[in-house]
Amino acid sequence: MKEEERERRLRERDIARIRRKKNRPFTFVSVFFILIFVSLIGYLIYFDAVKSDDFINSPYNTRQDTFSDRVVRGNIQSSDGEILAQTDVSEDGTEQRNYPYANIFAHAVGYDTNGKSGLESEANFQLLTSHSFFLEQMKNEFSGKKNQGDTVISSLNADLQTTAYNSLGDRRGAVVVMEPSTGRILAMVSKPDFDPNTIAENWDTLVNDESNSSLLNRATNGAYPPGSTFKIVTALDYFRQKGSLEGYSYLCQGSITVDDHTIRCYNGTVHGQEDFYSAFAHSCNCAFADMGLGLGGSSLRSTAEDLLFNKALPLNSYKTSKFTLENNSPNPLVMQTSIGQGNTLVSPMHMAMITSAIANNGVLMKPTMIDKIVNNSGDTIKETEKSEYKRLMTNNEANILGKLMKNVVENGTASALNGRGYTVAGKTGSAEFDENGSSHSWFVGYSNVDDPDIAIAVIVENGGTGSEAAVPIAADVFDAYYFD
């Protein structure tokens, strides 16, 4: 009997084994699909944990607006504690968004009616989410009151912003100030501007006023010819090709003609014999036009694209900068482009980012206007971590460009910034925009050259040369940063 039992068990085991083998393809198919389902779950977790922020905060995401039925929109504060936007709730429950600084932060903080812009758009989700103490939330729910939305602490500095705003005066243009080591944006001014307190009433006028386009944030969405500030790019391309600036020399005769096209130095000045440093410091057009011909269109393009021309920028709203040279571009266009004219267009914000990268040893930090989110009792909910966006150039290249720009302040077109109690490296520009030779005034630069504090980009529309209009504004901002 025992014998038989054993035999039967063995036989059953054999059958089971044969069956298992026969079913092996089924096992493979099941495992395959289980893996597929697991990867779906994994991706969903990844999306919710990591990616979802990008989508939640997108200005296209209007589903947050329904939150306002249950949450009072939170405040926006500057990093120095000033209230930039708040919602006043009156006795009968009507809400009014109030901007104490009115026009000064118009574009940076933005508006919340008739669409959204600026921080109001970028931080919409946070402003309409309440992290107040849960008992308080419970109490509000039962008594039918709204909860208080979280407060956004911005990196914007009210003092610097006001200085830049006043310094630009009633001229058109833009000023961007950022911290190279963190990417924090300290000031962002654009003019002409508007009063966000009355935007609903004035909406039709503002939208239809094409001659001013006050709603346009020129800092991020303006498209200007870079003028001589672009010589930074040309210089970088030269350094990349030759490996050194030392052997360079050029004899400037005030103008250069190639293929019947003539480029002149500003005011026809003859700079004479120059090395690289002096050509850059005096912004010698002839030298850079000649240099550009030697470098060639495709090389310039690849360096420009390394600096994010024709590329997406790490900003929520921006105008992509344009650079059009190619391998076979005609010589006149190559010469024009090398000195920052031609078809090249750039936004002040983009120039501030390039300058920041130079100041930060070649690394561009991801620009941000939000320091942290706190709830209505001031507890931190989320802090923006500083993060590297991209290395735009090597450490060495950044050093060389820094030296060139320092020399501009010490011996060149930006000497007004010399000897003010802080060190500055920079580059001026005058970007011609019409046939009469009228030009936008540019300055880009950073202060405290050895351990950079802030980087700045200034443009004054139709302001003349860089040293005339833009440099004094930069000086005001630097002064305010160091002495106020």
Binding site: S30, I34, L44
Partner: protein, 459 residues
């Protein structure tokens, strides 16, 4: 006050769902019949409470008496299905039945919240489908000739699909339906029957070539009709069935290679394929055009977060065709990411139950049918969930049993009925074998030791 209930309901529903999902897998480990029965009952209770909570919230939010009416109708339907299955499908897999009720419940909740008329229509179709499915086990048992209709299945499939391509009007960029019916859903069943009947015997190279030709015809016509989702589902089912019946992975790799080449050609040949890919790569860049749907879907999933906004608290109606292809995004938005993960796990359990059934069937024809239908189900789930979460390019297929869509839900219920029918058949087979064995043993004149008492009911 209502807000507090809504807020609490979120966590109640989520907890019930987590326990339900856990039961789905825990049950498979347990051997004790009584315990399994108990767990299955608990699952039903959980479905009941999920529905109760969800419909309470929907009613409080809408204050529409019709919601209660719908809830009662739905409850009657679920009770009827549970009872009738136990009568007509004796020994059917009850876990599979529970999962079906769970998925239908989730679908009904979302549909009722999105549009009550759609929910009513869906319930009607589901009820009709379930009624039809009661006779399917009988049909399978009686109609032994089903196995010999190989070329009828192929013919019906190709002719119907071609008719859609020629006659149907275009909706959402694809030609799908004839007179309100989507033939591609029916053909999912006939295609599997064709493959199974061709490949169930001895498989030689000639049969593989024939299967390939018919499969390519199906897939090709679907691509031309711009029904990319169905095309991919048919293709994957073809690959799986060829692999399983030939036991030769070489065929699968060959087919996979062919599929990749086909995909590349389709990408370059057809604008609508390129659109799907560009919307997948960077939907924000093409937000105004083909990226709109997927971006709205991601907004919904992202805004919902882990715990969801709560029923009737989000705005899923902002997503185009949310009731059909994007129902998963709506679920993520209002019931939350964790609930959605549980839902994927329930779908996984659903698929594994089908494979388990396929494994237990001995008749190769039925075995391949069960596996083929299971593959179609699983891959469709992958396509729709992967698509709306931007894991893979969007192909525009429904989430079976959850999404709104008459043909889709009807055919899925029929599919399930077929699989359950085959499962019962397996029990018959077991019985036959058992009696045969006993007879042999008795013939030997020896007393058989009672090795098995009754039949182990496998969920």
């Amino acid at each position: 006050m209502i807000n507090v209930i809504t807020e609490l309901s979120k966590y109640v529903i989520l907890t019930l769902m987590i326990v339900y999902t856990f039961h789905c897998f825990y049950m498979v480990w347990r051997q004790d019949e009584e315990e399994k029965k108990e767990l299955l009952h608990q699952q039903l209770t959980m479905i009941f409470f999920i529905d109760f909570t969800a419909f309470l919230v929907i009613y409080l939010k809408s204050m529409d008496f019709k919601v209660i009416l719908f809830y009662i109708e739905m409850m009657i339907f679920f009770a009827a299905v549970q009872i009738l299955y136990r009568i007509f499908y004796e020994d059917a897999s009850l876990l599979l039945l529970n999962n079906m009720c769970m998925l239908l419940s989730v679908g009904f909740i979302m549909l009722c919240r999105l549009s009550l008329p759609s929910a009513n229509k869906q319930l009607l179709i589901v009820a009709a489908g379930s009624a039809v499915s009661l006779v399917i086990p009988v049909m399978i048992r009686k109609m032994k000739f089903l196995k010999d209709l190989t070329w009828v299945y192929a013919g019906v499939g190709v002719v119907l699909l071609a008719a859609v391509l020629v006659l149907a009007s275009t909706s959402y960029g694809a030609k799908l339906s004839l007179m309100g019916i989507q033939p591609s859903e029916v053909i999912k069943i006939t295609f599997v029957f064709f493959m199974a009947s061709l490949l169930c015997g001895k498989v030689n190279f000639r049969k593989v070539v024939l299967a390939t030709i018919v499969a390519v015809l199906h897939v090709g016509i679907l691509v031309l009709s711009r029904d990319l989702g169905s095309a991919v589902i048919f293709f994957v089912t073809y690959l799986v069935l060829i692999y399983v019946s030939t036991r030769n992975p070489g065929y699968m790799f060959l087919g996979l290679g062919g599929g990749c080449v086909g995909a590349v050609i389709a990408y370059h040949l057809f604008g609508h394929v390129r659109q799907r890919v560009s919307a997948w790569r960077d939907p924000m860049a093409v937000y105004q055009n083909e990226g709109y749907q997927i971006v709205q879907s991601l907004f919904a999933i992202g805004t919902g977060g882990w715990f969801g906004m709560g029923l009737c608290q989000g705005s899923p109606e902002k997503i185009p065709v949310v009731k059909n292809d994007f129902i998963f995004s709506a679920i993520c938005e209002e019931m939350g990411g964790i609930f959605a993960i549980c839902l994927i796990l329930v779908c996984t359990s659903f698929f594994l139950m089908i494979v388990t059934i396929a494994l237990k069937i001995r008749n190769p024809f039925y075995k391949l049918i069960a596996l083929g239908l299971g593959t179609e189900y699983a891959f469709q789930v992958f396509l729709t969930i992967g698509g709306v979460t931007k894991f893979i390019p969007m192909t525009g297929v429904t989430l079976p049993l959850v999404s709104y869509g008459g043909s889709s839900v009807m055919c899925t219920i029929l599919m399930l009925a077929i699989i359950q029918g085959l499962y019962i058949l397996r029990e018959d087979e077991d019985e036959e074998i058992e009696t045969q064995r006993k007879e042999t043993i008795e013939r030997r004149g020896k007393r058989a030791t009672p090795e098995r008492t009754g039949y182990r009911q496998n969920p």
